[in-house]
Each structure stands twice: as structure tokens, then as C-alpha cells.
């Protein structure tokens, strides 16, 4: 079995949850040997990351370089190529950094590449049997990956759960001296934090959240009327923001806001994993969607197959009617 590496995502000295998940995924490939953590960055912050790694790694390879203070995928790829041996398996979290790093890394390592892996079903010789999802999660696929020259896999966040707890006691090997000077054709300038927007969806107990099923901008009013009757706020999934029907500040998901409502009404939302990644705190999910196969029904508590453009106005009328009754 080739050596397995896990690339550790960290920010401001804090280790991302994906680190433990990659260690768990690695044990699905090789139960006998724990993976090696690749920890890349610079300075004291990097030492803090090495000290805070979760258990589950056999060894930690630290690469410290001033040029790596900000995670630039091109620079990090060049650094990794100096140290990662041929034929290795490299696991990377499937998030915005991993999407930037992993495909090019696989080419430069002459390794196979499989992205957004949600299951590891087995290993036969040099062949990995993996599970992916396609078409927005409506169907899954078994994928065979010839890893005889190595493989780079991106692993969907939240799919593999670590059995271990506690902090890593693995030895830290400093690989920094093997890197040398690094330059890139893409240079980081700054990060822009979004404006907060008119409504803070993270502060609401009930969210009426709309997706592509709302169909056009004028129909947003249907959701707003229900939200007003319920004392809720209107949030949305990505297609609604892409179409400019609502502000980015209303978007729930990995590239939008993380919310923790008590009740989440998913209206015409298919339920992609990027959207669900923004839902925390185990809310009570009521999903309304015309498509009975919509993946949102896999995670919702209550599901209704119906047209939201008809269902929501009738629900609004019902809420108003009951409030009038209780006010008398």
C-alpha cells in the first residue's frame, strides 16, 4: 500500500474540521497505517496548527515558508512536489482551496484524480473503488480509480467521521529546508468581506428559504409574505443569488451564510451538499419541492411534493387566518 497523505486546511492558526475527516477516510483505504499530515504555511501560526492537529496521523510533515503565509494553491503545489514521493495517495478536502489545488497537483504528480469522493468501498491491488454523486446528488456512481501511479482524491467535507478523539501525538518532521524559493503566476492581494446586507438571516429562528423552484424574481414576494406572517426571514440557495433575485447576504451554504434556525422551510430547493453545509444546529426541516427525487427529501424531517407557487400563498393565508382567530 502506498503512503497516504492528508493535506491539512487551516485558517488563522485553527485546524479545519476536515483534518480529522481525511484521517478517517484514509483508514478506509488502509486500516493498517495511519496517514501523514501535510501542514503548510509559515511562522508561529503553523506551529500552533501542528500542535492542535486531531489524533489519527502517524506523522506530521511541516512545510514552513514565508511565501506560504497565505494559501496560494500554485505555490503550495510547487512546495508539495518537492516532498511528496511518486505513487503516493494524497487526500484533500473538497472545498474552495482543494478545488484550486488538487486537479493540477494530480497532473504534476502524474497521479489519477477523483474529485468530491463521498464513499470509499474498497481497494483491490492498485485499484480504488470510490463513490461520487452526480446531477446534484440525484444519483450516485461507483468509480474505479487506477492508483498504480498514485492518486489525488478530494473528499467531500462532512462525509467521513473520525472514531478517534483528542490531539495528535504524532512526531513532527520539518521539511521546510527541502522547498527553496517559490514564485507563482497568480499572486494574492487581499480578501474582501461581504457587506452585511439588510436582513441578518443568521439571527432568525424561522427561515423561509427559496431555491430555483421560485422561478422568477417577482415570485420572491410569495416567500416574503409567508415570512412576514410567520415573523421569519427569507433566505435562499445559490441559483436565486446567481439570478440576482436576492442579495448574496441571503444565501445559505458553503459559499454563503451558515445559519442555525429552529425551523427551516426549504421551498423549491433541491438540497445540494454545498447548500446543506450552511445549515447547522439540527433545525427542523420542512421541504416542499415539485420533484419527488429532490435530494432535500433525504435530509428533511417533513416532505411535501407540491408546487411552492401554489402551496406557499395558501399557507400564508392559513397563518394569517389563525392569527386573526387567536387575536379575537
Amino acid at each position: 500500500m502506498p503512503r497516504i497523505f492528508a493535506y491539512i486546511v487551516h485558517r488563522n492558526g485553527v485546524v479545519d474540521d476536515s483534518a480529522a475527516e481525511l484521517a478517517a477516510a484514509a483508514t478506509k483505504i488502509d486500516a493498517a497505517a495511519a496517514p501523514t499530515a501535510l501542514v503548510v504555511g509559515s511562522g508561529a501560526e503553523l506551529d500552533a496548527v501542528c500542535a492542535a492537529l486531531p489524533a489519527g496521523f502517524a506523522e506530521v510533515w511541516k512545510i514552513s515558508n514565508e511565501a506560504l503565509a497565505y494559501p496560494n494553491a500554485e505555490l503550495i503545489r510547487k512546495a508539495l512536489l518537492k516532498v511528496v514521493p511518486a505513487n503516493s495517495l494524497v487526500l484533500v478536502a473538497h472545498e474552495h482551496f482543494g478545488i484550486d489545488l488538487a486537479p493540477g497537483l494530480s497532473i504534476k504528480l502524474n497521479a489519477a484524480f477523483v474529485s468530491d469522493v463521498v464513499g470509499i468501498e474498497g481497494v483491490e491491488g492498485n485499484s480504488l473503488k470510490l463513490v461520487r454523486q452526480e446531477f446534484g446528488g440525484q444519483v450516485s456512481a461507483h468509480v474505479k480509480c487506477d492508483a498504480s501511479s498514485g492518486a489525488v482524491l478530494t473528499i467531500r467535507p462532512g462525509t467521513f467521521k473520525s472514531e478517534e478523539s483528542g490531539i495528535s501525538a504524532a512526531p513532527v518532521v520539518d521539511k521546510s529546508s527541502e522547498i527553496g524559493p517559490l514564485t507563482a503566476g497568480r499572486r494574492y492581494l487581499q480578501t474582501i468581506v461581504p457587506e452585511s446586507g439588510d436582513v441578518d438571516i443568521t439571527k432568525h429562528a424561522v427561515l423561509v428559504s427559496v431555491g430555483r423552484g421560485i422561478q422568477e424574481k417577482d415570485n420572491i414576494a410569495i416567500a416574503e409574505e409567508l415570512a412576514e406572517a410567520l415573523g421569519a426571514a427569507v433566505s435562499c440557495s445559490r441559483p436565486v443569488v446567481d439570478a440576482k433575485w436576492l442579495e448574496k447576504s441571503r444565501q445559505v451554504g458553503s459559499s454563503g451564510k451558515t445559519v442555525k434556525p429552529k425551523v427551516y422551510m426549504a421551498c423549491g430547493i433541491s438540497g445540494s451538499f454545498q447548500h446543506l453545509a450552511g445549515l447547522k444546529g439540527n433545525p427542523f426541516i420542512i421541504a416542499i419541492n415539485k420533484n419527488p427525487k429532490a435530494p432535500i427529501f433525504q435530509v428533511a424531517d417533513i416532505g411535501i411534493v407540491d408546487d411552492i407557487l401554489e402551496f406557499l400563498p395558501e399557507l400564508t393565508s392559513k397563518v394569517r387566518e389563525m392569527q386573526t382567530v387567536s387575536a379575537k
Partner: protein
Amino acid sequence: MEILVCARRVPDTSENEIQLNRAGNDIERDELVYSINEPDNYAVEEALQIVSRVGGNVTVATVGSGDDEEILRREMAMGANHGILITDDAFAGSDGRGIAAILKALVQKGKYDLVLTGVQAEDGGAQVGGMLAAMLDYPFSSLVNSIEVLDRKLKISREIAGGEKEISEIDLPCVLSVQTGINEPRYVGMKGIRAVASLPVPNLGAADLGVDPATVGASGARVTRVDYFVPAAGKTAEMLTGSREENIEKVFELVAAKGGLK
């Protein structure tokens, strides 16, 4: 600026329920509605907007079969100057690396300053753009949500977590994968598509591109889809199957019970 956009024709998930076929080895493709992969359409629109500011040409290419020509014509109706259909029996069964190798050969035959792809295909893995860039030794950025042209370089924004934008400059030539929402793609009507119906769309094969057939297609693929399946349901929703009136009653009660009424 000479811009190449790599696009794909895919089943449109907003128009179709994707289901397994009887044999269970593929999705049911009869009667599927196909369209251009949505992020690729944003990439074409972005290319057209860049060219309208700084001049140049937009070429749209796809690796596929005769059926895929329709998306090239659609994008030409949007305003793309050229369409190229890359098609060869030897390309069937290519994995992401194979597609990237074919596109690399196309890029090297032309003189492109900028190569755009959509961020991801419906049945793909957000992989070809990054692979193509590495094969060409061009700089790369994924998840691009704004592009500003400077002198021999671009200022770009990437979408990262929490709605934050990572701003970078990137040297040309480069490869960018474009995120949805970067612009508002223009509408294409039947009239526009008819207007480009007689324009030539050249077909290029392995020999035209100088691609060794053994390195692409099924024979060169290291990653193969074995089958499709629907995973056994874990937790699933309790489906309300009553009349709409009953369902509304039930939803109202549940929202109230969960503390959701003001």
C-alpha cells in the same frame, strides 16, 4: 484578447428528474432535455463582455459528438465568433485527464490569451480547468467571480467561504474556471440560433490535433465510472401525502409546535 471557452452539453437538471435506467448501469437518457452546462454559459458571457471592452475574439470548443454541436451554435448565437467541435471515436470514454489532454492540444494549436471553463459540470468533478492549466504550465484559478483586464495580466476575484472574495492578480495566458453568478448571461432566442445555422463549425479529431489516441479515451483513462446507483435511503423525510389543505394544516401545526410562530 483571444479567448477560448471550453464548454459541455449536459442533461439539464432543472428540466429533468435524473433516474436510473432499467439495467442500472446508466441514467435513463431517453427524453432527457440537454443544454449547455450552466457555468459554461456564464464563462461564454464573461468572455463576450471582456471582448466587448478590450477587443478580440471568443472561440467556444467542446469535446463530444455530433449532438453536441447544438450548444456551440447556441453560444455562437450569443455572440461567440467561432465554434469548434472536437470529436473522434478515440476520445470516447476519456476521463478528466484525457479531456484536459485533448484541450491542451487545441490550446497549443491556437494563440489564446485566456482559457475559460465553467466551474463544474453536472456530472463532472471541477477538474478539467485545473488539469489543463497544469499541463500547459499556465497559472490557474477556480471559482472566479469577477475578471478585470490589466496590462498582460488580470485582476480576479475568487469565491471563498462565507461569501468572502479572494482578490489576486494572475499573469496571462492563464486558465480560469468561472463560477455561476459572475454576470447575467444574455438571452438567446430561436431567431439568433437560426442566424448562425449556416456558419461553419469545424470538426477536429485526434489526427488534426496531434493527440496520441492511446493516451486518451477509454484506453488512457485511469478513472472509470462502473455504474450508477441510488443509495439505500438513510434518514428520509416523513412525506405528507394528504390533500394540499391537509398538508398546510399539518405544516402550520408543526411550525407552531417547533416554536416558529411569532
